[in-house]
Symmetry: C2
Subunit: 203 residues, 2 copies
Amino acid sequence: AASDVYKRQKLNNDLKKFESEICERIGEKRYLHTIRVRDVAIDLANIYGVDPEKAEIAGFLHDCAKIRDEKKLIKEAKNQGLLITEEMKRAPQIIHSHLGRVMAKNLYGIDDEDILNAISYHTTGRPNMSDLEKIIFLADYIEPMRNFDGVDVARKLAKKDLDSAMYFALNNTLKFLVEKDKYIVVETVLARNFYEEMSLSLI
Amino acid sequence: AASDVYKRQKLNNDLKKFESEICERIGEKRYLHTIRVRDVAIDLANIYGVDPEKAEIAGFLHDCAKIRDEKKLIKEAKNQGLLITEEMKRAPQIIHSHLGRVMAKNLYGIDDEDILNAISYHTTGRPNMSDLEKIIFLADYIEPMRNFDGVDVARKLAKKDLDSAMYFALNNTLKFLVEKDKYIVVETVLARNFYEEMSLSLI
């Protein structure tokens, strides 16, 4: 336990070094969101027996590439060697997730695949996510300042069953995209179909 | 024109030979639906300068494999050498379209790729459909006995612009699948995203 505390402090200190850099990149409002996501992620990790340290790091870094200005975002993607796919051009909101993975690796020294995947897939989801991936996706979806139809259902489900919560969140996201005539990322549909099957008996 | 009439009669006679066989396979109710789809398809073909004969054949045959009993349907698919994919297992309603193509070819001697594709994709749609493919998809969606929220909008759009009508129909289908917690076929999402882009300026 003592070494755990030591490790935790060490990591916190590691992350602290990047606070001002990240805050400057993504803005204070978005930075405060990442803190809330980190806190929810730690809570969910404790419920589901996932390493809370990984949840802390992934939650803290999930939006580290969320540069608001799209031109700057794409420039940074090029700087970091991230390929911009056709799908990213149609759905630019997914760029920051994949760029976040690259920046977490290149700038913040994260090499844990599970943490990196949690950052990559926190916007689209994907089939067969790890518990940590689901936790970051859901923490982002339900953090205390989120306010949309269904957020209370999502909050309850997230504490009860990760797969059912994932289905609810993904299906609700699709509903929004359909109603607003927005592009639908294929990975999100694959994920939604996957968690529909996983949660059939639970919702 | 005289040879056109001759050809038309010849084809009608060809199709007539199969009437009772198809009616027996799919039932009278569904058979009457195919006649209505054929008639709407011919009307749309005339609006958009598509060969009305092809529309007639494709409309008449689009549901030629719509066997209601799922076990019999899958047995027939095996008989005809159609591979049942994982997606077909999750969304059995798409089997009859792909089986219809095979039966139109094997049993009714259709070898026109455009007609065969119109049968294959009349349930899911796909990106980059030919006008004939769109016409069969839409005729099936709007035939006079269809009655659902939005069918009147779809009928008006179908006469105005095929791509806008496709987007409306595909998006409405997705809305239904999301609301009813049903499996979503990926091809339908690809098609919906494609026609969203094609129809942006028109709806």
